[in-house]
Each structure stands twice: as C-alpha cells, then as structure tokens.
C-alpha cells in the first residue's frame, strides 16, 4: 500500500517539476502574451508594414507572429528588418513561405541585441516577390499592449497593431524558473474567488489526508 502512495507522490512531484526542468531548455522568453488575432493584413509586392514598439528588456532576440498562407500557396521570402531609434537597420531575417503553415504561429530569430532594454524599435515587414494572388497575411489586432507604437502600412497609419510577440534570450535559468512559477501563481490568484477556493480546497484535502493517515 505504501509503495503505491510513494509512486503517486513521485508522480505529482514530477508533474509539478516538469515545468521547471523544461525551463532549463527555454532560450527565449516572451515580452507579453500575443494580442488576439482579430484581422489579417496582406503583405506582398510594394506593401511595407512598419510596426513600432518599445522593448522592455535586454537581449531582444526574436519575434513571434501568426501568419496566414492560404492553401500554402506562397513560396516566396518574407523579410523582417529591425530598425533602431536612429533609423538604422540593425538586424535582418527572412522566412520562406514554404515553411509557413496557414494560420500557424511562427518565430523569427536573429542575433540578440544585448542592450535592448527601454529602447524604441520599428519592425519592417515586406515580401516583394509575392503578388496579390499568393500573398501572406499577418494577423493584427486592435487590442494591443501599451508598449506598442504606430502601425504604418506604406506610410499610412492604421489603427491597432500587429499581433506579434517580442522574445528575449534567457540568460539565467533559475531566475526564469522563478519567474514562470510566480507568474503562474499570480495568474491563479488574479482570478480571486477561484484562486482562493482552489488553494483552500487543495490545502484542506492535503491536511485532512495527512491527519487521517497519521491517526492510523
């Protein structure tokens, strides 16, 4: 009997510690949650998107987008240029349409920028080789984080912003583990009544279990 309880406890500990273990392999941390995917903006030929945002940490290293590639038709490059406050292109990246599944979340990585904290950047997106028949479409949203600046489509301001996520390279795994667990607990207790009830029920059950087994 005690063996089965032992294995059950080990199982629970493993399930709780799996996130921590996998954290050690996470190299990129998102700045915020991806904004909702409310509409999509086509990128092809002469169309140039320019999304401004403020980076909140050092080691900016990637962006995540949700991109539509209807019927997987597009096989051309989509180019991403990161422009700093002085207007200089400091990073370039490209993806080919053939690796972009329709509607999937993809990430674009580049060499990290060590001193990116609290700096304004613009992300320029083009796909000159595509045409309007096989254009890619980048999801956008009108529910955007405060760190966003303007979204310009061929120089004209558009309401809302791209539904994208900046990522930062993780340099301290232990700090990362702490951040992930504390963020999880914060989200749990932000739903106040549920968080309180859930935690209380769990603690009461655990306490009752140990008292019951101690009494035996």
């Amino acid at each position: 009997m005690k063996t089965s309880y032992f294995y059950s406890i080990i199982f629970v500990i493993i399930m709780i510690l799996i996130p921590a273990f996998l954290c050690l392999f996470i190299k990129l941390i998102p700045q915020f949650e991806q904004p909702p995917l409310l509409y999509a903006i086509r990128v092809y030929g002469p169309i140039k998107l320019l999304q401004g945002f403020k980076s909140n940490a050092d080691n900016l290293a990637a962006f995540g987008f949700s991109i539509k590639n209807p019927l997987l038709q597009n096989k051309h490059d989509i180019n991403f240029n990161l422009i700093d406050q002085s207007g200089k292109i400091i990073r370039r990246a490209a993806l080919n349409g053939s690796v972009i599944d329709d509607g999937k979340f993809i990430k674009v990585e580049f060499i990290r920028i060590p001193d990116s904290a609290n700096k304004q950047y613009q992300l320029e997106i083009t796909s000159a080789e595509s045409d309007d028949k096989d254009s890619l479409e980048i999801y956008a949203s009108n529910k955007i984080p405060p760190s966003y600046n303007d979204l310009l489509v061929n120089g004209a301001k558009v309401e809302g912003g791209l539904s994208f996520v900046p990522y930062y390279e993780s340099r301290n795994p232990l700090q990362q583990i702490t951040n992930i667990y504390s963020a999880t607990l914060r989200r749990l207790w932000a739903d106040t009544i549920f968080g309180f009830l859930y935690t209380t029920i769990l603690i009461c059950l655990i306490a009752y279990y140990f008292l019951m087994n101690r009494a035996k």
């Binding site: 991806q34 859930y198 279990y209």
Partner: protein, 411 residues
C-alpha cells in the same frame, strides 16, 4: 456508500482527488478548447453542428470539423450551458480567441477546472463502479487503488483531456450490467457509448455470445444497434457528418493493414485476429464476467496493435487492465511496459501538443521548445523508432491476449 466508511478507501480517494486537482488547471491540450467551442453553438440553437461548421467555416476562428458523434455535442453543449454562471462573462470571448496568448488570460485555470469537471466525475464514478465487479473487500480495495492511483489514467484523462473517459464509463457500466445478467441494460450502455464515439460497437459481438438465451441476444442487438442508429439517424443525410465521423479516424484506419494475396484480394490482419478471437470466445465453455472483461481488453489490444492511435484512446484499455490485475498481479510488469510503450509512440508524433506545448497554460515559452520528434530526428528517423515501438506494442498485446485466453488464467 458504506464502502467509503473504510478509512483505507477514503484515504485513496482523497489522495487521488489531490493528485488530479494539482494537475487539472495547469495542463492544456487545445482539443478541449476546440470541441467546447464547437459545442457552444448548442446554446445558440444549432442542432446540426456538422453542417453548421461546414457552412460557416471561413468565418470561424477554428476550422476543424466536429469529429465526434452527436451525443458528444449535446452533452458538452448542455453542460456548458449549465455551468455558464461559473465560467463567467469572458468565457465565450476566450473560446473564440484562437491566439496562442489567450491561454494566459486571467480565468483560464478556472475554465480548465470547470471544463474538465465532467471527466473528474466520470473518473471517480468508474473507480466505484469497478469495485462492484468484485465481492471480496480486498479485491474492491485493490481495484479502487489501481484505478485512482495509476499515473497512466490520470495523465491521459487530465493532460490530454478528451471526452474518452465518458465512453469508458459507459463500457464499465456495460460490463457491470453483464455481470449482473442485465444484458439489455448492458446493450443500452454500449449503444449510448457509441453515440459519443464508435468503439463500444466492437464489444457487441462479445456480449451477444456471452448471453445464453437467443431471445436476449436478439433484444441485445436491437437495443445496442438501435440506440446507436437512433442517435445518428437525424444526421445520416449530412455528407459532412458521414465524412467527419464514419469515414475518419478509427473506422478507416482498421482497414489499412492488409496482406495482399493477389488477384485484387487482401486479408485484413486486425479483423483476421478479431475473428479468431471471437471464435475462441464463442467456443469457450465457461464464461464468467472476467472472460468478458478479457474479451473487451483483447479487442482493444488488437485494434491498437494495428492502427495509428491517439494517446487519449489508451484510456479505453485501462478499466479492463485494472480488473485483470486484481486477479493476476504478477502480470503488472508486462502491463506497465505496454503502457510505457503505448505512451511513447504518440509522444514521438510531430506535434508539440503531444509533449512540450501541453504546458502553455503555465507559459507559452514552452511551445518554443522542439518537440520530441524534432529532437529524435537529429539522430534517427523518428518513424523508424515509432515503427519499432509499435511492433513491440503489438507483440506484447498479442502475448497478453494469448496468456489471458488460457483456461486456467483466471484462477
């Protein structure tokens, strides 16, 4: 309920509930959001979800068809309606938001707990029903512990969170009614279970031959198949329904493993083995409920041995394995190996939601990790590994079917 006065049982129940509650809110598979989204149209008056999703596909955030039979839609849709006050006003908005970041919204842990609550109720119900299959208190305690504390069931039900545990409840009820010689109720349970997912239909031939009287056999067929047909009859004219349910998944995969014997003829291997087993079952002189239990298990082991399966389907096997292990604890090592191999195969699919991305409810950073498929692919072709594992699974399954078929196995 006097069973609960037993402190040992109460202790197991509380331990089992604690383990489940610790996991439920924090592991997320997107299927739960997809089918609850699809089921949400019931409260808007949609009765034929198959045609509705096909007609409005372009405007919906989720493009998948509804691949389950109608009872799944009506059950989940009704449940959602009943618990909507507890889900809150933001729940529908969350359901409609297909973005990756939506899983980190405030309230998601509450949603996941409430959405998985029917599975928790079914899961604990199964534990108590399984105890009714045995008379000795020791056996009741054994099976209760086997079900409540086995990690395979817990992980499959609450991490991959599919509806399969509801159908498992029906099949366990069917076994219980058959043990009590209430064959018509057993047949009804199989028919109702098939109204959610088709697999209980495979058990009908066994219950048919388990029943001794021809009058009961005929009624059993009428009730089981009649219930199933009554559930799907309103949708048979819908091409989308036929394509999404009858012509997909389990039903078609069973016909793939064939042995070509020339002249455009093939022998279907799983059906061949099932036919041999059925003949053995019919010929077996003494049939007890354990014989029926082993028969249910044998059918499922043959099916899994010869098809590409989803990990959540493995829960179908669990109650019958637990019943068997009460009498034959010496085989537990073999069943643990079967379970490990069975779980390893889907873990190697090229799908992050089979492994790392299940933790997206904790942090979406996990979806940036490579899947096990990608890691293995750096060293060897994963399909070779999966094929070897599946061959091992089939070998262990066929061996288990053989040893459980032996006359003195149940002593």
């Amino acid at each position: 309920m006097s069973f609960l006065k037993n402190k040992h049982i109460l202790s197991i129940l509380i331990a089992g509930v604690i383990i489940r509650l610790a996991i439920i809110p924090f592991y997320f598979h997107p299927d739960i959001k997809t089918y609850y989204f699809q089921s949400s149209f019931l409260k808007k008056g949609v009765l034929n979800i198959y045609d509705y999703l096909d007609k409005h596909n372009l405007e919906l955030p989720y493009k998948e068809n509804f691949v389950y039979f109608p009872l799944t839609y009506y059950f989940l849709g009704s449940y959602q309606f009943v618990v909507s006050p507890f889900l809150g006003e933001n729940f529908d908005k969350w359901l409609n938001d297909a973005s990756l970041g939506s899983i980190l919204q405030i309230g998601v842990y509450r949603y996941l707990l409430i959405l998985k609550l029917p599975y928790l109720i079914a899961d604990i119900s199964i534990a108590f029903l399984l105890t009714k299959l045995f008379n000795q208190i020791e056996d009741k305690q054994k099976i209760f512990k086997l079900w409540m504390l086995n990690p395979f069931s817990i992980a499959i039900i609450y991490i991959f969170s599919n509806i399969d545990v509801l159908i498992v409840l029906m099949t366990v009820l069917s076994l219980l009614f058959a043990k009590k010689s209430k064959f018509l109720l057993a047949a009804l349970m199989l028919g109702l279970g098939a109204g959610f997912k088709a697999y209980p239909i495979f058990f009908i031939p066994l219950i048919f031959f388990y029943t001794q009287k021809w009058k009961d056999r005929v009624l059993l067929l009428v009730i089981s198949l009649g219930t199933f047909l009554a559930i799907i009859a309103p949708f048979l004219k819908s091409k989308v329904f036929l394509q999404s349910t009858l012509a997909s998944g389990l039903t078609t995969r069973l016909f793939i493993p064939n042995l070509n014997i020339g002249f455009n003829e093939s022998i279907n291997i799983p059906l061949l083995i099932l036919a041999i087993y059925l003949i053995y079952f019919v010929k077996k002189s003494k049939k007890e409920f354990l014989t029926l239990n082993n028969g249910f298990l044998a059918i499922l082991l043959v099916i899994f041995s010869f098809i590409h399966f989803h990990i959540q389907w493995l829960i179908w096997l669990m109650p019958f394995i637990c019943v068997l292990l009460v009498k034959r604890k010496s085989d537990i090592g073999l069943f643990i190996l079967l379970g490990l191999v069975g779980v390893a195969i889907p873990f190697l699919y090229d799908d992050k939601y089979m492994n790392v991305a299940l933790l997206n409810a904790v942090s979406t950073s996990y979806s940036l990790l490579p899947s096990f498929y990608r890691i293995v692919n750096k060293f060897v072709d994963p399909s070779i590994v999966m094929s070897l594992l599946h061959t091992l699974f089939a070998g262990i399954s066929l061996f288990l079917i053989w040893i459980t078929s032996k006359e003195n196995y149940e002593d």
